[in-house]
Symmetry: D2
Subunit: 253 residues, 4 copies
């Protein structure tokens, strides 16, 4: 069973702010965006959630275990420390994609992302405690087989980046369109996906798809748990077993 | 004329560190990576450079104007404040892609990115002052026409993300393969590219390519300057003229 | 009734680290220390605690409401993101000073702060849930009457600083020696003290003591609550009433 | 010869902001203040300056080597990334105290620190290049003899803090009133002072003064240089010689 709680974090009216009264320096924007993401990652990450930077002005978080008060607290903390504010939409569902559709709808219903009047929306409802179970969250942690040997140490840095991105794009599409999963590049050669419960054959098919479409060899560790941290650490340990044993799918499948 | 100075920032032996003695929590890694990127962006950004997060363990920076001492200083600063160290490869060239190949070669020559003995390499040479000119750096700042209206406010957040990523992947490939440019997603619906000097027809062809391949409408502002900041701010102002006038290519073309 | 839970945060073997293999740049140390403090303030602060920077290598926190798991989590998070580690001693007591003596003892029992072998101690026990009450934490928030008009806008910045520090030193001594309270400068002209339950006459005596000893006029807002945040916000609101009404003691006295 | 360039960094209208529309949570203020200080320390620190947190809403920096453009750049960077802005007053003089009086005067002349209309002042003039010499900056780095053995490992953490603060207060007063120096607590048991050129007898007298007044034994390393970093590193190395040789004054005296 899957019971994902997804939070969409959207910077309020951010695009217009970046060019008002005139375009702000890109380096300052990059610094501010990545610090804000880091703060969210620290906040939800120490409450057993995961945050993905996604587009930076729209970030997606797995927040099973965080309640409304937690969401209101981080919203206030950002208002007190940054020149921008955030809106938060919380969604739940049997598949991660459904949960995100739900989360997005709460923000879209409140107005446009570039509506100057729409600020600090807090929409949607977290899972109640009695709805939660020990296998609510399923995480699949993918990486590229020998990325350092095949790419980083062989190609120039941008060509490696393009190769990794292509494999990643193929992976995120197939996970989303075929399986209701949400995959995110998290740096290096790693993709972390929040997924429904899938069996071994599904993961083998996903890996084969990426090999055929993007000529990239992946392996994956799969974990499940009460929270993203539980599931994610289990997935990482499973991925280590792939490394040790030369297998391509390990873990809770 | 183009005279790009590119620095490749590579975390030393980072992959193994993330799983030693056992896998570290992903949220901590995300927080640490994004803070480290923010510090580099602040450091080079206030010295008129641009840093792109790329894969986070491999970051690419445009560093025209930063000398060897600056590079050594930031390397020391990171060693003193983070649990990881960085190697820096500096490359120069008539095209950004050539400069990056040069930068990458300095690190690859010193050993593997996952060689435990290879730490804090500082390779390559910045441009000498008498080699520098007022139009050394060319930057093209792209964004998506009405991304908020067409995507953010209409699709769920992941579908928007997938659409933006696809357009971006198409753009970065054509810039790299056909024109010697390096394009980077910088958040929202924005791509900043460090490019050779290109004419209006080239930009129109790039935009048409992305429209045909990824069904995404872009516009672009182009600027040139002594440094990335000069060129980048000029590009942003040109992009504002696109917004005001409904045009798709403005600036120094 | 008071029931303070105090955590002593001590950087492990920090002094020797700052000069090994040779003295590290002071600016890097300052940046690292203040970022580490900020992270602790964010961590405990969003769990309704307060952290004071104190000596930076020894920080004192009011942590009512944070359990052992929270303490272990922040210890791990710092290990994963900084070049240094922290030990944590947790103490409780009817007065804040007793609680801190208890917290300190847990670390001193485990070894010297400069013992290279003593790392990441986690000693002491938080309050059990059934020991906690709604008035466990008492906070007194002091500020200087018209500090901007009398000092900041009149004296040079260092002379103002010396004047503020003298008043603060007088205040922290009398609170500690006479009343079992722990006062901390928190910036500007503000001192936040974690105190036992005290009556109005006690606060008037404290203020008179500082006026006589350091020629500085203070006012104070006092609050109590289940956590430092509850008590601290109540104290701030009480201090606002002092400002509005021209009084010198307001709140829960 | 001394030729100090001191910058006073003052948060604009900060006190009122912290209580508008109602009091903001102290933990958020502490986090924001310390991050802002860290950014300034990183900015000026990698330009060979020193920043001291002082009162956090008023920070004092030694900025020999930073020009007007650098000051304007950091002012812009903070505006782009924080909810508050800063004013900067630059002063120069034969003694650090004179330089700070000059720096302060530039801000006071522009209006009150709590004037809502006074924002982002940039007043005063940095040293011209031809006014600068290799011994412009003199730094004395003090620490307490065996602070860990005598205090940290023996007393409770607050009593240690009180003892260190008392010694520090005595030191900063005598340096300021008798010698024109500015001393700042920088964490642990360390005080860094920006001073005029003083001889050995002066340092011995200062140390004796603190021993007599505050019963605390200090030692000091003294360095001079073109910038704060040069002088400060020399002072640190001199302090190491004190540690090795059991002396109380070493370095450039």
């Amino acid at each position: 069973m899957t019971n994902a709680q997804i939070t969409l974090v959207q910077l309020d009216n951010y695009g217009p702010w970046t060019v008002t009264p005139e375009p702000r320096r890109e380096a300052d924007l990059q610094t501010m965006q990545s610090r804000l993401f880091a703060d969210l990652s620290q906040f939800f990450g120490t409450r057993d959630g995961y945050v993905f930077f996604t587009r930076f002005d729209n970030m997606i978080a797995v927040t099973n275990g965080a309640d409304l008060e937690d969401h209101a607290r981080v919203q206030e903390s950002i208002r007190n420390r940054y020149p921008v504010t955030v809106s938060l939409g919380i969604g739940t569902g049997a598949s991660p994609t459904d949960a995100l559709v739900d989360a997005t709808a709460h923000l879209q219903a409140a107005g446009s992302a570039q509506d100057a009047e729409r600020r600090e929306v807090l929409g949607g409802q977290p899972l109640a405690d009695d709805e939660r179970a020990d296998d609510d969250v399923h995480i699949a942690h993918f990486d590229v087989n020998d990325a350092t040997g095949k790419y980083t140490d062989e190609l120039d840095a941008f060509s490696t980046f393009v190769r990794i991105e292509q494999g990643y794009a193929s992976l995120m599409r197939v996970l989303h369109d075929e399986y209701g999963g949400l995959g995110f590049f998290v740096g290096g050669d790693n993709v972390v996906a929040i997924v429904p419960e899938l069996d071994r054959a599904a993961y083998e098919a996903v890996i084969e798809h990426v090999r055929a479409e993007a000529d990239m060899s992946l392996k994956v560790g799969v974990g499940s748990g009460h929270t993203a941290t539980d599931a994610g650490l289990a997935a990482k340990h499973a991925l280590e077993r792939c490394r040790e044993d030369g297998t391509i799918v390990e873990g809770d499948v």
